[in-house]
Symmetry: C2
Subunit: 406 residues, 2 copies
């Protein structure tokens, strides 16, 4: 019942569609879906001109997509583009039918949402409360209850789950279901696929990866080559190259938190010394600021910094400097078009950015790589997860049509 | 007359082939060429079974490739696979026809070579002598003479140049012809396309990039995700992800030499401080070893280290340590399957590797990323350049057939 998430995970079949008539038809179905999704409502003629196929070829593809409920005709009674001749019947992506389910296992919360093919949030459920050190079974049981609630809500609106994607604060194996290590949950080698309901096999990924994908898909003017830096407790990066997430051999790419900033600095849990996390991780910043809170740590740091607490401001400025050193290395290696601060870092950006930017600038001969702040902030991973399922449907509409429960 | 090098440079048309019958035909021609190239000689039936098309479809494609001289039939008189029934007529990639021309502008030499579609080196010309501080025009004039000599030699064997690729020790613009900055030649904003013969418009790229591609294409057991580290005077890296070179937004990716190793270290020409090049670059190592040679610097370092010169050995060991710190960061960001030392670093590997490996290991909790040494060494960039032209022919055989001068 799950859509193959080949755009977000390399295991999907989308990459290897055979170069045959059948493969061509599937790819062209995807191109029609993407075009209507990005620019619709559109007439059949407009779709044909945009993707460079004949009107007749497009009509055949469109008919199939309408039949399987992925596209709908708005009908001539709803002219969309006034003044461009007769409206014809404009095509739009369906607002019923398959939906993407996203879930997030955070250190301090659980969340689930459903997003329709148009990209609109249609249902959402959240539970606050710490998950640190809890064993996986009861956490996943709670998450499953939230999933069922969201599925029921979506069902009332004519939506059915095309797949479930789960964001976790840790490293995920190549099978896209096993959490190899989530230090802040204290989980190791947990197969989430075995714990979640069998009818909804999940695609599991690191929250920094889903955050980066959310930025790519939902951010305004996001380039196709960028580095998305986020933090919950640790610091992670999503490396996006030509519109694709760079995953690495084991799926462990983006571990910016363990780039050495000072090679002889303090010991880090990763085995290294002087890693970025030792200077800019949440624990390090709280320690430097002399705080020991429980509950909303980022909120506390932001509140204190707003109030002018000099210790907190200095701690955040030092963290920004360390981020600047690590990002100088990353920018030299990857040459991204920009760096985006997301997740918890977005909320602390006013105090991190000045030193971060000046560090990057003083270490660069030409113009420094621009650094911006994500508008999605801590919502990124959850939205990225749900949208990854939606993208998988757009990427291979034929596959989801075969699984339509209706 | 130049083949579009879309596998090595993103400007080529190969990526954007339209998804039509015509595009499908071109891609399937490419699949036949790649299959015969990688596994040939092969019968038509064997090709069909390997690429998953019908025997009839493959025969049509093969006939076209034979007609345009890219494939040849070895004939039944040369059975290739004994014991598998009648030999039929085995197909092989042609050893006449289009060839790839590679050129290298080194700091201390110029070189040109021709490689046939089978990947065999067929002609080669080299001129030794320093190019430091020489103006581009006379250097390119000399290079052009070498090119003409190699083209004449290749012509005698029935080969014609399908393209020219030029490796340079510097940053190259997105147009793949302008050298933005080559500090060790003292060149800035030099359009090599305007200086080379008009009938052979070049594809210009950084030598570290061509070195990495050579490793990908010609190395034994090279994975599809690796980091290739090389040096002539500076230190560069080629980041290969899923068999493709990561280029970055401006084409400047892979600047490992400017990853900060010690943020408060010595000033670097790039504007930074404590960059890897300040510890492991050729100048830094020579300075640390107390040497001021001219001529073959790497050769001198290797000779002294072999003789047991303690200063040289210590300087190289310290350089290896700095490489280990910078590579720890790179490995955490990119999660490659391996790191390969190429270029001049390959010749110094015996003295760099111990400290490099132990630094990587002590900074990694799990098993450290394996580090190996390239067998191509300093030949990598030249071979990578020539092979990039050959690959472009294999990637889009229809394009080169249209330009056949015969």
């Amino acid at each position: 019942m799950t859509a193959p998430l080949h755009e977000t995970h390399p295991s999907g079949p989308g990459r290897a569609l055979p170069d045959t008539q059948q493969g061509m038809r599937r790819r062209n179905l995807a191109r029609v879906m993407h075009t209507v999704s990005a620019e619709g409502p559109l007439s059949r003629a407009a779709v044909a001109s945009r993707i460079g196929l004949t009107r007749a070829a497009v009509s055949t593809l469109v008919d199939e997509l309408i039949r399987t409920g992925l596209l709908e005709e708005l009908g001539p009674e709803r002219p969309v583009r006034v003044g461009r001749g007769r409206p014809g019947s404009a095509l739009a992506v369906s607002e019923r039918g398959p939906a993407g389910l996203g879930a997030e296992i955070g250190v301090d919360h659980l969340a689930v949402c459903a997003v329709d093919l148009r990209g609109r949030l249609r249902a959402r459920a959240v539970r606050h409360g710490s998950n640190r050190g809890r064993s996986p079974a009861p956490v996943i049981e709670e998450l499953t209850r939230l999933v069922r609630r969201v599925v029921a809500e979506a069902d009332e609106e004519g939506l059915w789950p095309a797949g479930l994607a789960v964001a976790v604060p840790g490293l995920v194996a190549g099978d896209a279901r096993t959490v190899v290590r989530a230090p802040n949950l204290d989980w190791e080698d947990i197969d989430l696929g075995a714990l979640l309901p069998a009818e909804l096999p999940p695609t599991v990924d690191n929250e920094a990866n889903f955050g980066a994908l959310a930025e790519l898909w939902l951010g305004e003017g996001t380039p196709r080559d960028f580095l998305h830096v986020s933090a919950e407790i640790g610091i992670g990066a999503g490396v996006v190259v030509d519109g694709r997430l760079l995953r690495g051999t084991r799926g462990f790419a983006g571990e910016l938190g363990h780039v050495p900033v000072r090679p002889d600095g303090p010991r880090c849990a990763c085995g290294g010394r002087g890693c970025l996390e030792q200077y800019a991780g949440e624990e390090a910043v709280l320690r430097a600021a002399g705080l020991e809170p429980d509950g909303d740590r980022v909120g506390l740091l932001a509140a204190r910094a707003t109030d002018g607490d000099e210790n907190v401001r200095r701690a955040l400025s030092d963290a920004g400097e360390a981020l600047g050193v690590a990002l100088t290395g990353a920018v030299n290696l990857l040459d991204p078009e920009s760096v985006v601060l997301g997740g918890a870092l977005a909320g602390l950006a006013p105090w991190l950015l000045p030193s971060l930017r000046s560090e990057l600038a003083r270490r660069t001969a030409g113009p420094a790589c621009p650094v911006s702040v994500s508008r999605l902030g801590s919502e990124g991973p959850l939205l990225g997860a749900a949208h990854s399922v939606v993208r998988a449907v757009l990427d291979d509409p034929a596959a989801v049509a075969e699984r339509d429960p209706g």
